[in-house]
Amino acid sequence: MSSHVHLDTDDAEGGVSGTHPAREPFRVRAAPSLSAGTVPFNAVEPGLFTVACWRMDDVRFDFDSSFVMPAAKKELSLLRQIHDEHVGHPLSIFGHADPTGTDDYNKALSGRRAQAIYGLLVRDTDLWEELYSHPFGGDQWGKKHVTLMLSAVPSDSGPPYTEAAPGPGSASTSAVKLFQDEHGLKGDGDAGPATRKELFKAYMDALCDGDALELDPSEMLGGGALGGGKGDYQGCSELNPVLVFSGDEAKVLDQPAHHAERNGQNSVNRRVLVFFFRKGTTIDEASWPCPRVKEGTAACKKRFWSDGEVRRNPQAKRRLYEVTHDTFACRFYDRLAMKSPCEGSSPLILLHLRLCDYEKDPVGGAPFRVLHGESVRSGEAGPDGFITLIALKRPEAVKIEWTRPEFADDDDFPFRRELFVDVGDDDPSDDKRLHNLGYVDASRSENVKSYQVDFEHKVTGVLDDIRVELRDFHDGGPRPAKT
C-alpha cells in the first residue's frame, strides 16, 4: 500500500500516440566491382527502425501495480487507431519503472506492466493469472481488482456487475455470484481461478471495446515465437528515465520525509511504450538484445551507451528526455525512441493532503480511498497522515474517505469529506479551509465559532481572529495550540 494515489481525470490524457518523422526510403549506396578491382562486395542489411508509437502513463495503472485501470480504455482506443493505421508493422511493448529500488527489482516490475499490456492485447488470460497469483513486491492483485473489473464489465442486463465504489461493508460476493451465474460458472461468490479466467477475458474485452483491438501474437515483433515474450514485451527496469532529478534535488528527495514528493514526481518515469517497426521487420534470438521479462538486466547493460550510467544518474541540473535527450542509459532503446513523439513527460499536478480525526489530529497510516469520477483509488497515509494525489489536471475538489489503521479490516470509512484542493488565498479560500477541517455550517461565523471552541480560543466568530493560524494549520503547519 502506498500513500500515493492517482486521480483519474476524464478529460485528461493518460497517454499519447503518434508517428515518427518519415525518413528517406532505404537506399543502398554501392560501389561497382571491376574484375581485378578492390570491391569484393557491398553489404545490404536491414536495420531495426521504428515508425510509430503509443504510450500509456502510470496513471492508468493501479499505484505500484501492473493492474490496468478501467480508465485505460481511453488510451487503448488511441492504440487501436494507430494499430489500424499500421497494419503489417510488427510491434513490441516496453515497460519502464522509476529509479527507486534496485535495477533487478524494477526490471521485474516494469516487465510485469509490459506483460499486463501484452496479455490484454492478445487476450492471454494465463498471463494475467500469473500476475494475479504471483504477487511481486507492492504489485499485488486482489479482491479490490476483482471489484474494479466487475465495475467495468457490463452484465447481461446492461449495467456493470457492481458500482465502481460499492458502499462500505457491501462485500462484492453478490456481484461475483451474478457474474458466475451469467457465465455458466459455479455460483459460489468466490473469484477463484476459473472465474478469474472468464472475468479477465470479459474485462479485457471491455477495455479494448470488444474485438476492436485484439492482436494476434504473430503481429508482435517476436511473433510470439521466441518464448517468454522475447521481442514481444519487455521491462526496461529504471534504465531509461524521462526525468532525472538534479543532484541537489535527489539528495533532498531521497530523505524519507520527501519520499511522497519523490514518488509523485517519478510518476512520469513509470510508463509503458509500444513501438511499431518497419513493415516486414523480423527478429530472432540473436538480433534482439532485450532480455525476457523474467531475466535480469545483464543483457541490457551490454547495450548501454558508453556513458550510460552518467546519462541515467543525477547531474548538476534536472533533465527531461524531451528537452536534453540524454537520460536513457540503454543505447539500443534510445535508438528506437529518439525520433518518437511518445517519449516525453506530461506535466503532473501533485496534491498533498493530511488526514485528521475529529480532534484534528493527523491519523498516521490511515487507510483511505479517493472517489473521483468513475474511479476509486485506495492507499494508506504516511506516518504523519499525509497522502499525495497525482493528477494530470487540477481537480476542484476530491471526495475522500478514511479511517483509523486499527479499523482497517472493517471495510468502513467513518471519515468522509469532499475536500477543496488548491484553495488559493483570497477571502473565500478561508471558508474552503474551514470546510476541509470539518466546519461545514452554512454560515462563516458559526464555523469560526466552532473552530474557536475546538481550539479553546476566545469565541468571537470573527474570521480575522483566526485567519493566520487557520491558514498555517490547513496548509501543512502543526496543530494549533489551545489558548
Binding site: A30, F41, I283, D326
Partner: protein, 233 residues
C-alpha cells in the same frame, strides 16, 4: 589532357567509357593521377570533387591492305555489381531468389551461400533495383564515397542497418533568427545539430559493439577499417 571533376554518383568505369576509354586504367594509372590513386586506393570509390586528369586519346595507326573488310574489336573491361544480402541478425540470406532490374533488362538471380549475388552491369550503369522476396532495394551504383569521408562512413552504416538514412550536416541559413542567448548552465541545446550527433553516435556505438571494437562513439581509423571490412568495401 583535361581535368574532370567527379560528381555525385560518378564512378570511374563510367567516366572512362564516356571519355572513350576501353579501360579505366588508361585514366587511373596515368602518372598525373598517381596522387589521387594513392589517396583513394580503390578505383571504384571516388569522392565527389576529386579531380581526374583525363589523358588525350591516343591515336593508333593500323596499316591494312585495300579491298578487304576489316573488323576492329575493342575489348572493354567488364563491370559487375556484387551485393551480399544479410538478414537483420547479420546472417547471410543464402539461396534466395532475387531480381535485379538494370537499364538493359531484368536479371533473375539466386544468392549463394554467403548471400551474395554477382551481376554483370553496363559500364555506364548508375542505378539498379533489387527485389528479394518482399524487400525492394534502390541501389545507387557509384554512390558510395570513401570510408574516410563522412558521407562514406555514414553510407556504410546505412547499408549495414545501423543508420536509417544519411544525415548530412545542416546547412546554415543566413536569414535564420539568431538563437537566444543560451544559459551556460543549461548545457548545449538539443537542436538539429545535437539531434544529428545523437543519432550518429548511437549508430557508431552499436556498430563498434557488434564489430568487437571498444565502444567510444568516435568514428576513428580503427572503426573505419572495421566498417570497410564488414561492409565489403
Amino acid at each position: 589532357m583535361r581535368v574532370y571533376v567527379v560528381a555525385k554518383g560518378d564512378h570511374l568505369p563510367a567516366i572512362a567509357e564516356s571519355n572513350g576509354f576501353a579501360r579505366h586504367d588508361a585514366i587511373w594509372s596515368h602518372p598525373d593521377n598517381a596522387e589521387l590513386k594513392k589517396a583513394r586506393g580503390a578505383a571504384e570509390i571516388l569522392l565527389p570533387g576529386d579531380q581526374l586528369q583525363i589523358p588525350d586519346p591516343e591515336e593508333k595507326t593500323v596499316e591494312v591492305p585495300d579491298g578487304q573488310k576489316h573488323r576492329f574489336v575493342v575489348k572493354s573491361e567488364k563491370l559487375e555489381l556484387r551485393l551480399r544480402i544479410r538478414d537483420i541478425a547479420s546472417a547471410p540470406l543464402g539461396g534466395a531468389s532475387a531480381i535485379l532490374a538494370v537499364s538493359d533488362g531484368n536479371q533473375d538471380l539466386t544468392t549463394d551461400g554467403d548471400g551474395q549475388i554477382i551481376a554483370p552491369i553496363l559500364r555506364s550503369e548508375r542505378k539498379a533495383t533489387l527485389t528479394v522476396g518482399e524487400a525492394v532495394y534502390e541501389i545507387g551504383i557509384g554512390d558510395l564515397d570513401p570510408v574516410d569521408s563522412e558521407s562514406g562512413w555514414q553510407a556504410r552504416l546505412v547499408n549495414l542497418g545501423y543508420l536509417e538514412g544519411l544525415l548530412p550536416s545542416p546547412v546554415a541559413t543566413e536569414d535564420a533568427a539568431p538563437p537566444d542567448e543560451p544559459d551556460p548552465e543549461d548545457g548545449p541545446p538539443y537542436d538539429e545539430e545535437a539531434e544529428r550527433a545523437h543519432e550518429l553516435r548511437a549508430a557508431i556505438e552499436e556498430f563498434q559493439l557488434d564489430g568487437g571494437l571498444g565502444v567510444t562513439g568516435e568514428m576513428d581509423d580503427a572503426t573505419q577499417a572495421r566498417l570497410r571490412e564488414l561492409h565489403g568495401c
